[in-house]
Amino acid sequence: MKKAFQPAFPGRHTTIATAIVGALLCVHVARLYVVQVVRGEEYVQKGESNFIQDRRIPHARGLIYDQRGRVLVDNRPSHDVYMTVAILPDSTKSLAKLLAPLALQKSEIAEIDARVLAAVEEPVDLMVARDDVPAAACDEIRAIAHREDLRGVTIEGEGESCRVVLAARELPSRASVFRKLRELVGLPPDLMKERVERALQKSRGLGKFKPTLLLEDIGFDAYARIEAAASLGDLSGIDVVDGQKRRYRHGTFAAHVLGYMNEIGAKELESRKGQGYLLGDMIGRRGIEATHEAELRGKDGVDPVVVDAKGRDMPEDRADELLGTDRRTLPEPGLSLVLSIDENMQRTAEEMFNGLAGSVVAMEVNTGFILAMASFPTYDPNQVTGPWSKPYLQSVTKDPLRPWGNKAIQEHYAPGSTFKAITAAAGLRNKLIDERSNRVCPGFFRLGRSVWRCFNRGGHGSLALVRALQVSCDSYFYSLGYDLGPDRLAETARLFGFGARTGLDLDKETPGIMPDRDYYVRRFGAYTPGLVVNNAIGQGDVTVTPLQLAVAYAAIANGGTVYKPQLVRETRDADGNTVAIHDPVVVAELGIDKAQLALMKEALAHVTDPGGTASGLLWRRDRFADVSQWLRESGVTIVGKTGTAQVVRLSKSVQHVEAKDVPYEQRDHAWFVGFAPYDNPEIVVVTMTEHGGFGGSTSGPVTAAVLHRWFTEVREQGRYEDLPALPPSKRIIMAAPKKPEPAANEEQAPSTAQVPETDDSAPPDATPVMPTTPPRPDPSPADPAPGAPESPP
């Protein structure tokens, strides 16, 4: 028996329900369309940034050669210590496990933990974690210590109760790992503490899963000790990775020219965005390293690695499949520089310098290329970075003689008598004097009620230009200066390059001061004629840098051409091919009659004659005896000028104090500028000895010694023009970095690079793979090394 079909509910109920279902699901399909089709590309990118981690293949920085192709700066392999915070031992956890039978509160465990960490640095690292432990718990604790393989746990006492004693240095904890590391490396506790704090700062947040640089360049011995300790399992979370370090082959040699490198700061990182710098990169700070950073720096290669959500590297074939086999970008090495500096000349300048502070500049008069540039005291760029650098940096910074600055370009001094040649040139240019026009020196120069004394109180009598320069008569130049006036003197001096930066490719050059009428109006409100009288003999407000003086005398030597001083001869690529050759650059022509310049040259040539201001040069008996002998026998005449610049205006009462009794900081600055040979001058050498007293005796022999080296050695067989082709620095095409299957707790351990054995003399060319800062930069900005000499005084 069957009923006719009669639905329980009207069909419209079902229809509405189906329609609602359909409508709601349409919302999902629409959203799916937006997410997958419209914005799909965006999510593909996000997905890729999930699983692609770009490991960096560091580039080799360009080398720096001297003008004969001798390596001055290269790169050497270094051993850097990285730590991964997440893998460092956690003493809180181990203590909680160990003392579990005692059912302690969290706060009690924390208190014991704090005591353990403190005890690590105590002389006696044994501490009682818990007294009066019931016997049953003792056995349990003993069993746990055994099972968990916790070192440094001893249980003392028998019978009813016992004590749990911990040896803090043995119990695995962060502090004990750092302490062990410190002992292995041999670093003082305060330096280590600072490094650890810095690294912990950097690895906050997600950074704790990434290896962070803790100590760089620990040296091979420490590396070997760490590896040995690590193989015993004492140093979990610590890895030693091969990196590169800049090597300044001769230590302090030409430090001010070469400069140094240190870690890039957070601010600079921001301002150099898009130039491929990453946190932790080294950047050229001073000297050539800084000014030629763009050339020396190459481009890092990229090795994209596929990682899973826990940061573990996936096998090679997975990466091949996802990213293709040609995913790696090889690093491009930086360009190498051939400097105009000559190793021998520079060495002579540095060895023969005759004072505490000052500078020596040697320059080719016909090109403007610098052969030597030394500043004293100096520092060792190798010691500026590295875990031991802090005390060194402090001692250098605290030195009252200011070792950081390059005194050849960053310090300006009154030029003293050396400036008289410039005054003379101004007189000649303005036709106020010629070789015959005489002026009378009564021993002073009077202007109204003011009197300027000549150093020769008796007066030189009537003299012309040649004799005036030769005896360095002050009165002659007082009156010439007065006739010239400040503007004409300044105009000629500016032609020589004074009062403006020379444009040498080093940073922080100072322009010096070349006062003119406007300058004095600005400074004093009005110009008084007496001011230029002082300037004419290189005193008063006029100041010059040693380099400016070299440039100016080069112009006198070469017949009137002012060259821009330069340090880089050539740029070469890593294969040894020349990329660019730097030609001499003419800045100005003096426009002084050649004959008149020759006249000045002749006047200056008598400086070493008997009666000349530097006649003592010929008869030195100290370490300059060889130089004196060469001067007497070779027949090479040094054309030059001494200069003694007053540092303080001496009152009459002080004037007759013996030179050696004057306090160091009140002694005069000693100049000597000289070029040679007389007939066809080749190089000019300026020596500036701060507080050196009389120029002829302190600075003169140094200039002579550098010239000596040029004529006896460098000129014959070692000039840039004879530079042999440099051997191409070997470039190694990286094999795929092999990485052993990471063990579970070795996730993300920095891959160890294969550095080929490098011959010490060959430029290192290894491009080891380093762990890099990950694509997502750590939000916490790393502070630059405190005390790092980013801007030393």
Partner: protein, 441 residues
């Protein structure tokens, strides 16, 4: 239990529904074999076994007489409620929720059973409870009945004791963060409202004379399992339970004016629930749902990674077994709640839209049971079953593609899980059952 005899020739098996119901879990098995490849390579096979078990259970559900289900509805409901109470008392806590009952050989989740029980008991109750022109709100709620004030008092007491116990436990364990005890004023407000309400109800009862209908209300049938599941806590299942009941009531019909009022009421209750009932982690999920980028490593991690997976599939997907989010474990729980992201990543919009289409077909074909059923119980049973499948799919896909907050709701027939799979196939069995003509004996 009486199994029906061999089908008569007039019986038409809904082959379309059975086909779709078979196709979807097979796609699910294929999808699982890719999703769990790295972590649990044989998971797809286990799922296949559960599928077979599910088909047996589903076939039984399809072939049982509807009258048997009508008979079974209340006992099953009672057992379910008992189990839900048991799970709160002796259940195994997993990830902060007591959802599992350890039965020795295997664990069971009574909340899965609650969904089926809810379908049957609502179908049973509302098939007998008819109102011309549709239900009114008053008829459903019976506001003056005593069950709600009593429940409210019980709830206030439970909340107070529960938070107190947690608080004391935390202090005893020396934890740094001690959860707050409900403030006394909150409990007082709860109890105060309940007492006033109770007094009004008692007055009403005294005037009208005692009757079960004057103590209980239809809504109580829904509220008891709903609240029990909610305090496990399992917001996902609780909302499914509620949605199933609501769907059945709405299908049976409500008066338009009452429907509008109840919609407003639902919003009000939702606001109150946000403030007083939801747990911190649930609230956090909702806020991160509104702004997932803000907390990419925390609560938003699932949501963000899931959308990346789906979105990066683009139009045609990365191909089976080639999803990077899936294979490199960036996608958590990709074999349970987030299977749809695996599908979306590896098969793209084409695959995702196809699956949604199939799910729509499944629900529509199940609803056909309601159209063809000759009795109210069968029809409402089919509606309940269809709504359960639908709300599961809707909430799950919604949370995976970032339309809804993340709550623990599986994708029916696709997610891994034995009890989930069996429950869903039994529900489909209900719908098949409703489409078979009833034999009148």
């Amino acid at each position: 239990m009486t199994l029906s005899t061999a089908p008569e020739s007039t019986q038409r098996w809904p082959l379309g529904l059975i086909g779709v119901a078979a196709l979807i879990p097979l796609i699910g098995v294929l999808n699982l074999s890719s999703a769990a490849r790295a972590t649990m390579p044989d998971l797809w096979f286990k799922q296949l076994l559960w599928l077979c078990a599910g088909f047996v259970a589903g076939a039984a559900a399809a072939r049982l007489r509807a009258s048997t289900f009508e008979l079974l509805a209340y006992p099953l409901y009672a057992v379910t409620c008992a189990l839900l109470v048991a799970v709160l008392v002796i259940g195994t806590p997993i990830k902060g929720a007591q959802r599992w009952l350890d039965l020795g050989a295997f664990n069971m989740q009574p909340s899965e059973l609650a969904k089926l029980a809810m379908i049957l008991v609502c179908a049973r109750y509302f098939s007998r409870f008819e109102m011309p022109g549709g239900y009114t709100l008053v008829a459903l709620l019976r506001p003056l009945n005593l069950s709600r004030p009593l429940g409210l008092i019980a709830f206030a007491a439970y909340r107070y004791l529960h938070t107190r116990a947690k608080h004391d436990a935390a202090i005893a364990a020396g934890a740094t963060e001690v959860p707050n005890v409900d403030p006394v004023w909150l409990t007082a407000v709860f109890v105060g409202v309940a007492v006033v309400w109770f007094a009004l109800g008692a007055l009403d009862l005294a005037r009208g004379g005692f009757d079960a209908k004057r103590v209980l209300a239809p809504i109580d049938i829904v509220m008891v399992p709903f609240i029990l599941v909610l305090i496990e806590p399992d917001l996902g299942t609780a909302s499914i339970v509620l949605a199933v009941a609501a769907s059945i009531i709405l299908f049976a019909g409500m008066r338009p004016r009452d429907l509008a009022i109840s919609s407003v009421g639902v919003v009000a209750v939702a606001v109150l629930a946000w403030n007083f009932v939801l747990h911190d982690y649930q609230r956090k999920r909702v806020t991160t749902f509104l702004n997932p980028e803000a907390d990419i490593q925390g609560a938003g991690y699932h949501a963000a990674q899931s959308i990346i997976a789906v979105g990066s599939g683009e139009l045609t997907g990365k191909g089976y077994g080639h999803g990077t989010q899936t294979q490199l474990s960036f996608l958590p729980e990709n074999h349970t709640d987030f299977v749809f992201s695996v599908l979306g990543e590896e098969w793209g919009f084409v695959g995702g839209a196809l699956l949604i289409l199939l799910l729509f077909a499944l629900v529509a074909l199940m609803l056909r049971g309601a159209r063809r059923a000759t009795d109210r119980f069968s029809a409402l049973m089919a509606v309940g079953a269809a709504s359960m499948i639908f709300w599961h799919a809707f909430i799950n896909i919604g949370m995976v593609i970032g339309v809804l907050p993340v709550v623990g709701v599986t994708l029916p027939l696709m997610s891994y899980g034995g009890s989930s799979m069996i429950t869903k196939i039994i529900a489909i069995g209900f719908a098949v059952n409703a489409q078979l003509p009833r034999k009148v004996t």
